[in-house]
């Protein structure tokens, strides 16, 4: 089997799940990997469930299909748990990371008998406290990196600092907030 990690993101239109998948692709790319980051497009509208995907590998990736048996699933919006079968095809040896204030034990019953690792992170709270707004992207990205190990942690932190400095060149106050959110998320993600 090929050395490849496949990740599926679930979010709602406008929450930035697509952006988060592209950021993860960026972070993995910067550590020398082959990457894919792509959204599944439907009629675009705010609030509708959307899916985005990542493939990360040390070899060139030729497949251009969606991902049906992911190693990891990231759920950016907890309300999707009752609307979308988020664990469909998710490998037992993998994990699901959910944006929630609940513990993994509290969330597990909602996951249709999924037997793998269940992780939760209160990305909304972290984002509110560190950035003053509900931008769950950065903490969710940090949590999936922590849980999956697709990118080495210290390398990831260093790389993201560079990205934020570039991205927020005109809004430097955002750099520290995002970095704090990132590091907090890596510490606070609960693995159950």
């Amino acid at each position: 089997m090929k050395d490849i990690v496949e990740i599926r993101w679930h979010g709602r239109g406008g929450q930035g799940a697509k952006t988060a998948s592209l950021l993860l692709a960026d972070a993995a790319f910067n550590t020398g990997k082959y990457v894919q980051g792509f959204p599944e497009y439907g009629p675009e509208r705010m609030g509708a469930p959307i899916t985005a995907y990542n493939r990360i590998s040390s070899e060139r990736i030729t497949v251009h299909s969606n991902i049906y048996e992911p190693d990891y699933v990231v759920v950016v919006d907890e309300t999707l748990l009752s609307a979308v079968n988020v664990t469909a095809g998710l490998k037992k040896g993998g994990a699901i990371v959910i944006n929630s204030h609940k513990t993994p034990e509290e969330v597990r019953p909602l996951l249709k008998g999924y037997e793998g690792k269940v992780c939760t992170i209160d990305a909304g709270k972290i984002s509110e406290e560190e950035l003053g707004k509900n931008f769950p992207n950065t903490p969710m990205l940090a949590a999936i990196v922590k849980v999956s190990g697709v990118v080495e942690e210290q390398e990831f932190i260093k790389d993201m600092e560079g990205s934020f400095q570039h991205k927020f060149a005109s809004k430097p106050q955002m750099i520290d907030g995002n970095m704090r959110a990132l590091k907090r998320s890596m510490k606070e993600v609960q693995i159950g």
Binding site: F29, V35, G37, F38, Y41, T62, V63, S65
Partner: protein, 392 residues
């Protein structure tokens, strides 16, 4: 050694445009190609290119703008998708018959109805007889590489060229890519120095004139000859591109075809998915292979016949339907190629697949090979006109 980057297919094409710095872009936005003129207009606004960007009110006008500019002696480009390409159709014929080597990036998308924004090849295949050269890309790298070769090819035979990629599947997917240094790009693409053009003051000329029946057919025969001549040009430019990048291109790419008994012919991003499927089947000792058509116009009939002559069965994969109660265009042209070459042995079927963004998986391709295996075993081709993975 090239620049390691990660870009979406649309970004890659816009970046190629920036490196080439053409004279005029006439464009009107439509999903999923919108990002191309969007990124490019930012390059224009930032002064990174000195292209004249002409925002128009429709695709018909976008192509008209390109025709005017190219006839005047400029390098003109545009980008579009789906019904935008349909709306250009009238002017696509004018561009080709006026022998204007315009470059058009197409992020392929389905046509209505039902209304759908996702990928298939209905738009590009719908204009396949307009007289344009048409290259298709498997991934962002090929979309970029094809774009860098486009002007060399089009200008050598005085025909316009479409650089097609799969909407969303590659146009919106971030993937690794190796970019060519801008100096090398400029040297490779060269300057556009047309022999005849409207602004050549010592040589007054007319473009788009009326031709009576006495002349019309000769003009068309010359156009046909240019398309025939393009085959060698595409190979020559692809080989030269290989010398500077290590990535050599021809009219088709064959994959595991040396001893293949069953083969599929396919265009675009699903070729990559098929390669994975073939690797898995080869691991089970199945003799399966792939012919990826890079150049659909000109159609590489001899090359395809040569690649297919020893296979027992093949499936031509069409990501659109001709609605002729018979088959899609790749199947039709492949069968014509085999017949013309006097090859009658391979049994061939046609699959219409991936319409409106229907996902094409490794398993989808393996199903096609399983059907081919059955045909080889039983000797019975069965229905040749098939739909892949459809609910009926």
């Amino acid at each position: 050694m090239g620049i390691r980057e990660r870009l979406s297919g649309n970004e890659a094409v816009a970046y190629a445009m920036k490196q080439i710095n053409p004279d005029v872009m006439g464009a009107y936005p439509i999903t999923p190609s919108t990002e191309i003129p969007q990124y490019f207009s930012a390059y224009v606004d930032n002064g990174e290119v000195d292209t004249e960007f002409i925002a128009v009110e429709s695709e018909h006008s976008a192509m008209s703008t390109c025709i005017g500019a190219q006839a005047a002696g400029a390098r003109a480009i545009s980008a579009t998708s789906s019904c935008g390409l349909c709306y250009m159709t009238e002017m696509l014929y004018v561009a080709a018959s006026d022998r204007l080597p315009i470059t058009l990036a197409v992020s392929c998308r389905a046509l209505s109805g039902p209304i759908n924004i996702n990928n298939d090849h209905s738009d590009a295949m719908g204009v396949r007889d307009t007289g344009w050269l048409m290259l298709f890309a498997e991934n962002n790298q090929e979309a970029y590489d094809n774009y860098l070769q486009a002007m060399r090819i089009g200008e050598a035979v005085s025909l316009p060229i479409m650089i097609c990629q799969d909407g969303f599947i590659t146009s919106h997917a971030i993937e690794n890519i190796e970019l060519v240094e801008t100096e090398k790009v400029k040297e490779f693409v060269g300057k556009y120095e047309p022999q005849h053009f409207l602004l050549k003051k010592d040589e007054p000329m007319s473009v788009g004139a009326y031709a009576t029946s006495v002349y019309y057919m000769e003009a068309k025969r010359q156009q046909a000859q240019a398309m025939i001549d393009a085959k060698e040009v595409i190979k020559k430019v692809g080989a030269e591109f290989g010398k500077i990048t290590g990535r050599t291109y021809g009219l088709i790419e064959t994959y595991e075809m040396e001893d293949a008994e069953e083969a599929i012919l396919i265009i675009g991003s699903s070729a990559g998915t098929a390669k994975e499927a073939i690797q898995e089947l080869r691991a089970q000792n199945k003799k399966v292979g792939l012919i990826k058509i890079r150049s659909f116009r000109p159609f590489p009939s001899e090359e395809i016949a040569e690649a297919l002559k020893h296979v027992k069965a093949f499936a031509a994969m069409d990501k659109d339907d001709s609605f002729n109660a018979h088959c899609g265009p790749i199947y039709a042209e492949t069968c014509a190629a085999l017949y013309a070459a006097g090859i009658h042995e391979p049994k061939g079927i046609n699959y219409i697949y991936g319409l409106g963004g229907r996902d094409v998986r490794v398993e989808s391709i393996q199903h096609v090979f399983a059907e081919l295996e059955k045909i080889v075993q039983t000797g019975d081709t069965g229905e040749t006109y098939r739909y892949l993975e459809v609910r009926e």
